[in-house]
Symmetry: C2
Subunit: 284 residues, 2 copies
């Protein structure tokens, strides 16, 4: 990764835009493609990209490294349509929240071409969207996960590690796509399912006057982009359903302690949750 | 509420200590009683109280206003033991997270005495305990709920309103104890049940390397004082069980959309959760 590297970001949303912004800030050459001309204009006007267009085959042909900030299925369709424009030696990655059903399809599409797709997942985000919210602060203290398959090279893994370090991600991990999707079913998708269900379970507009921070924190992610997350949930359906089932089992066990007035077991659950949660405190 | 009012805080934990600190900072006379001499010493040394002791009948006899920062059942027992020490005209309140099974018992204990117990609930807190963490910042933007019964006077309600305003609570509400406990079963207790169950559902210590902020936010309250919360859950058991059941119904409905690949219904749930959650954004 050197300053002559020509980056292309396809999809200047919150994540793609933040990648572009962070790279430009550090002196790299960054081009952008986005279906929305306003996003291109904004990114050009604010130094987030050097050049950009809604579509420009030359921008694709010139790129040494491409990051996709698109929805998974949109990305797969885009790659299928434009794969013959990629430069030989081009390295391609993404930001998708699910991996198995993305990586397999993309690597299959590119298998006879002299380019490499290696998936990665920046565990960062906000409840806003669009390039206008682009910032590179959200990568600090965030996790970056690289999910190589046996089709990927050591060079590509090293490149993504270097990229994540350059963008100040706090922690970089390597995880097989299958393990990634199991994990994400629990820590990300199940938590969103819970927040959505909690808001759907009760329709009392007065609650805002009575609520504390715990409810606010727990439901922050109930503000959700329904198109993206429906796609992500369906792409990881089997893992997510299993995680919902496991969670329900734990919830039922807790409810049983209430029915039985079994304070010892209930306290034990709280002790376990306290211990396990303490692992997740951010290092100051 | 004037500067000659003699306040007594019984139980100098996080909440009681923060009340004492906020009142002292504003120039009121505050005494403290706590079973722990270290807490008294700390509070005296740091100007949180003017005088204090593990127990001192005179401090009780002198108090115009008493706030209890004790666990609910401990408070009821304490009042039963010491009720004959209260000064005539004394106003007594609490910080308990449940009301029906607290207010009824205390008002019954005090029914032949010339004192008034009016319950209230400051919707603030932190995942730490003890007077050392006392601060009055946590009341800003927080809700304060007064839960009078037909045994309470308008004067007492007015006093608590004034108290909450003086401590800078953002929003003051009046709610019947029964309504309070139903509401708290949803916004507070159910959210803690969810966080505890989520941590109990999975024991993978490596997850910390892969997690994002959504998981951290949702499980912040999984760090929980098992003694206090077991007591609170049992005191509000019927409401809490009903809330768990309602939440499970919503969770099952969401799971069904995954099984059916019913994207329209799933998106609709996300749209509802987004709309409802937007009501809870804090006013800047």
């Amino acid at each position: 990764m050197n300053k002559d590297t020509q980056f292309l970001i396809v999809g200047l949303g919150l994540m793609g835009g933040s990648y572009a912004y962070a790279l430009s800030k550090r002196g790299y050459h960054v081009a952008g493609i986005d279906i929305n001309q306003d996003s291109i204009d904004y990114a050009l006007a604010n130094g987030i990209i050097e050049k950009g267009a809604c579509f420009d085959a030359d921008l694709i042909r010139e790129a040494d490294v491409i990051f996709f900030g698109l929805y998974p299925n949109t990305m797969v369709a885009w790659i299928e349509e434009n794969r013959n424009l990629f430069k030989a030696g081009c390295l391609i990655s993404d930001v998708s929240g699910v991996k198995c059903r993305v990586v397999d399809r993309v690597q299959e599409l590119l298998k006879d071409l002299p380019v490499e797709f290696i998936a990665s997942h920046p565990m960062a985000g906000k409840e806003v969207s669009g390039v206008k919210y682009a910032n590179d602060q959200m990568f600090q203290q965030a996790n970056f996960i690289i999910t190589p398959t046996d089709k990927n090279t050591v060079t590509a893994v090293s490149f993504l590690k270097e990229f994540a370090k350059e963008l100040n991600f706090a922690n970089i991990s390597i995880l097989a796509p299958k393990k990634h999707d199991e994990m994400i079913g629990y820590v990300s998708q199940l938590t969103h399912v819970i927040a959505i269900s909690l808001m759907n379970a009760n329709d009392n507009p007065d609650l805002v006057n009575y609520t504390g921070d715990s409810f606010r924190d727990l439901t922050r992610i109930a503000r959700i982009n329904e198109h993206l997350w429906t796609e992500l949930f369906f792409l990881n359906k089997d893992n997510l359903i299993r995680e919902i089932d496991d969670f329900e089992t734990a919830l039922q066990a807790l409810k049983q302690t209430l029915l039985d007035e079994d304070s010892d077991t209930l306290k034990q659950m709280m002790i376990i949750s306290t211990q396990r949660r303490s692992r997740f405190d951010k290092k100051k």
